[in-house]
Amino acid sequence: MITTAVFLPLIAAIIAGAMAFTNTGDDKAKKARLDMMAQYVTCGGLLLSAIFAIVIFKDVALGGNAQTVQLFSWIESGSLNISWALRVDSLTAVMMIVVTVVSAMVHVYSIGYMSHDPDVPRFMAYLSLFTFFMLMLVTADNLVQMFFGWEGVGLSSYLLIGFWYNKPSANAAAIKAFVVNRVGDFGFALGIFTVFMMFDSVNLDEIFTAVPMKANDTISVFGGQFHGLTVACLLLFVGAMGKSAQLGLHTWLPDAMEGPTPVSALIHAATMVTAGVFMVARLSPLFEYSEVALSVVTIVGGSTAIFAATIACTQTDIKRVIAYSTCSQLGYMFFACGVSAYSAGIFHLMTHGFFKALLFLGAGSVIHAMSDEQDMRKMGGIRKMIPVTYALMWVGSLALAGIWPFAGFYSKDIILEAAWGAHTLTGGYAFWMGILAAFLTAFYSWRVILMTFHGESRADERVLAHVHESPKVMLVPLIVLAAGALFAGYIGYESFVGQKGVEFWGSAILVLDSHQALEAAHHAPFWVKYLPLGVGVAGIGLAYVLYMWKPAIPALIVDQIRPLYTFVHNKWYFDEAYDFLFVKPAFYIGRNLWKTGDGALIDGLGPDGLSAVTLNLAKRVARLQSGYLYHYVFAMLGGIIVLITMYMLLGG
């Protein structure tokens, strides 16, 4: 069943891919039929897979029946033994549910959203392929297989961001995502090497059992001695930062919004970007032994949370706002992991998966209604025209802002309480950043709602005339996700982070006795418990004041703090700084290497030097082939004489 659940999407992807390659010519009816078949196959596969995932969850997570399915061996070389295996424990089961359910919903939603696109089968194939890689990632039982899934989702992400490959900006964004991720992947790969160097294995079970023995080992890097586990964890975390768009490596995520909206919902909100969080949780037995690494995770997470939230407040593209919001929420998950509250991080990952996918798909629904307009300044006042979407956006935003009883309330609160409960300097930093970010989160969420749905419409007449509610095939997935955003928090609370937590997670997550932030979180004082809710409500209130009742104020404020605003509005100048620091020098070096290095040196020696010699040699060798039989016989006899002579002179 596990194998089926994982491989169904792959099979669906292959079938849909084959359809994408089928040339239908001008036959419209045939093409429509093919499109429909591709949609049925992939959606059916994913829905089945999702049902299986739920059954597996019941068996594995609730029944405490963790297992590993061995498929077959992959690489055997010296002491390196890697096999394909599906490792399913509570952590994986949770991830599988999130991945398959959200993916299934996005698949169904795409039927409606992509209905006008000429490349439906290709799109569906990519989506399913992505899901397969994601499942490979979460079920990996060794680091290399995880890396396989990791690279696979990166590839699918690249393909999907650049899905509209005729659009230059989409291509640029795809390349940017790929390259920035490459930096992270490089760290991940180095991390795997380090782990292999220390443990002589990449198998998770073997590593985890060996960790306590190697807890204080040092390794030498560039001549200095360092704590081995810290080095390994930091390198692995660089990988996680890349994939999860954390501060420094986040620049690709907003640009990735060039892809179709369902892609943003699936990959850049609910699943792929959370892979980093998953990886840190999965490797909790490693991270637990390195205080430094944990502190770094906490600081990076806390900083990202506040940093991305500030930018989100100034953006005007509806998808970009949500993208930065994702970035910020990922920061929450990371600092939860950083204070050893992995289960809280995963809990937020799950709830966030539902409500962020909901928000994205809702935004997609808005964009769809507005004839592909994404700029909020050109929206407004359309709540009456698309009431269902409006209501669903409310649900999503309430969940995101952490208002009781929506899912976000439970998961965000427990994270903040855990950060407070860690009683460390970094924990405190993360806590206050988190509170501030929570305030901003509520603020920008309502900024989106108010600018999009309320007030006077700023769109032009023609667009307004076409505004329509999305078809049912798009709304049903939204409703399913909204149900998740409503109830997931309440249902999951006890099992994930409450009293049943230890039993629920089993051995999937390891927390040392010295790290009891989660335990302390349950005994947090009153003000810690209700501060997040308070700032959330305050944020909503502020948004109402600024964008509903006194719409003139924002401009005034912006005028007052012009330099700060410009700074934030330009995303803290990260792109410009990278451009200056890395891209320009790289181009410069590249150009120089090309002109002098390659042109003069390598071409001089290579193509013009060495290869000329090679070609010359080749001509001579070819001339040996005369075509005369007796030449050939003579060559054979000569050969054997040479061989025997050689043996007699040397070998004997």
């Binding site: 007796y630 003579f634 006899l637 000569g638 004489i641 025997i644 002579t645 007699m648």
Partner: protein, 202 residues
């Protein structure tokens, strides 16, 4: 013993000399004749070793069939042997050097002839007594060597197929006797009995 030794060297020498002549004779017919001579001498060597069956086989098959076939081919094909030999002198020095090196090496090999004790043991399987050559061969060729025997049969079959595939051509307009057709003919098909009135013709 001495006579045996002398006979051996005689046969061996003539065989080698004939072999050289096969290669160097100007007239191809002579070459074939020398080849026959070489065969006869090899047969003599077999007799010396007590393998009279093989000796007869050599004479019957090689001399009687193969060599005669060669002779036919050589005499019937119109090949310009002078032209074929044109490069002979040009390549002689190179060939001679190569041959010389090989000969020297083989002499070294034979000079260093020593058999491992194990090898001697295996090689010394005596010829069974009171059994004729033919009988002994038959006894193993259908038992121990059945595999090789059958495989050799397959090789011959392939050779036959190959020869037919490469040379057989359908010719149109050739009349052949079809026995089946002949047997299937019935009197009714071909025979008609007609009453002919006298004086009128048909």
């Amino acid at each position: 013993m001495i006579i045996q030794g002398l006979t051996f060297y005689m046969f061996a020498f003539i065989a080698i000399a004939a072999g050289v002549m096969v290669v160097s004779a100007k007239n191809p017919v002579h070459s074939v004749l020398f080849l026959i001579l070489a065969f006869f001498n090899s047969a003599g060597l077999f007799v010396l070793m007590g393998a009279e069956f093989l000796a007869m086989l050599l004479v019957v098959v090689y001399v009687g069939a193969v060599a005669v076939l060669f002779m036919f081919v050589v005499m019937m094909l119109d090949i310009n042997f002078v032209e074929l030999r044109q490069g002979f002198l040009k390549y002689l020095p190179v060939g001679a050097v190569a041959g010389l090196v090989l000969v020297v090496e083989l002499i070294v090999v034979v000079g260093g002839w020593h058999l491992s004790p194990e090898a001697l043991k295996t090689a010394a399987s005596p010829i069974p007594e009171n059994v004729t050559n033919t009988h002994a061969l038959g006894a193993i060729i259908y038992t121990d060597y059945i595999f090789l025997f059958q495989a050799a049969g397959m090789v011959l079959l392939i050779a036959m197929i190959g020869a037919i595939v490469l040379t057989h051509r359908k010719r149109s307009g050739v009349k052949k006797q079809r026995i089946a057709d002949q047997l299937a003919r019935k009197p009714e098909d071909t025979l008609e009995i007609i009453d002919v009135e006298s004086g009128r013709g048909i």
